[in-house]
Symmetry: C2
Subunit: 275 residues, 2 copies
Amino acid sequence: MTANGIAQLSLNQKTLNRYSLPAAVAECVRAGIPAMGLWREPVQQHGVTEAAELVRSNGLRVSSLCRGGFLTTDSPEERAAALRDNRLAIDEAAQLGAPCLVLVVGGLPNGSKDLAGARRRVVDTLAELAPYAERRGVRLALEALHPMYCADRAVLSTLEQALDIADPFPENQVGVVVDTFHVWWDPKLFEQIERAGSRIASFQVCDWLTPLPADVLLGRGMMGDGHIDFPPIREAVRRAGYTGDTEVEIFNDEVWATPADKVVDTMIERYLHLV
Amino acid sequence: MTANGIAQLSLNQKTLNRYSLPAAVAECVRAGIPAMGLWREPVQQHGVTEAAELVRSNGLRVSSLCRGGFLTTDSPEERAAALRDNRLAIDEAAQLGAPCLVLVVGGLPNGSKDLAGARRRVVDTLAELAPYAERRGVRLALEALHPMYCADRAVLSTLEQALDIADPFPENQVGVVVDTFHVWWDPKLFEQIERAGSRIASFQVCDWLTPLPADVLLGRGMMGDGHIDFPPIREAVRRAGYTGDTEVEIFNDEVWATPADKVVDTMIERYLHLV
């Protein structure tokens, strides 16, 4: 159990997927949750300026903005478009007061089997974005996704790989996400969390369920419903020096079908007892 | 394309899942495939002595026996039973002339979240089995399974972890499996294949499909149907010193519904052109 109650708990907006931004903000206020992880699409739908005003006027911190990335394309046109879109995402993060923009780097380009090439392009494209992000006061947060998404979502598959990519960049430009769902299985997890130190830009939690649901993108479960032992990971992240919020980010049809207040109350209870 | 045609191609029996051992043997003979990877259940069904006689009299090599393992239990009774069963599997491998017994180490025990503990027990149990296997002339082949199986099938998740576990054992006691499906995503794959050297006891191929099917155990595809670039992996395995067979092991409902001769002909063609 964390020492300070829910003072560092953040609700990732995706956990209340079918609710609007104002409804999610209202839920945080009702439950006393002090921070939110925001997603670009619902923020854009609400208007970025209005969204920034909404969270500020309700006294909420923004712990992260999800997400930029998709940097693996081998087409010059798509690459230029991706750079434009990521710069826009960085601007949005700055406007929202989000300390970091989470990057999901993208999978193999359509029809390509060149995994090494896709990984090289992530590094090259990141180098173009990082100075821009720094000028806006936004940190790029590389998110290693579970290896089962390597082909179609993110060729960045482990925390070690994320740190290898981040190494050449100043820490205030490029950090990493530790998301329990994606990294809990990794035999080198604790070694790499220690190595990460102040590179850790975001800490996200949810559980690993079995059997995986038919749509593996929706396998992220409420803490306690799966197999992950959270406290050792949370403690390692704190020991490494991370002082930010713990974001609960759940993609799950059942959770999404549940009323927001029930999801949030369960989330708080599980967070206090299991994380 | 491999230089020597199908002289080192092995049909893993699972690829023809709904066929009997004699039917699978007959297919190999028809198609000129010189080796088979066998599975314990159909071999036991046929009779181990009779199976050994059947493959030998048809001039086939046995490239591996699948599978022992399930070494993670925290119950003394289940552990004793697992040791008994693995010794039996080693005896069967010896009788069949299989150079190695593939080990799928097992997932978290029911209700347990102690991943580190499960991984420790794999090492402890392996230490009891390895000398027994050596006396029977059978090598134990640790198979790293894709991290998506960590909770429920195998807490052994990367080639690096398999090699770390194998390190203290003599090479003729404990080797490792390189299975493209399980390891293709790994950023350290080529480094670890080189490190593996003569620890490589088995090389298995099949493709990674997207989207993953509803039952993720059946996501293994025919080479060419998915995202894996085989030649660099095959070359790395050869460069590391592996001189054994390449086993094609496919778990896939569509492949299993296809007539054996069509599966085998496709497999040979894909092997010659893509592996």
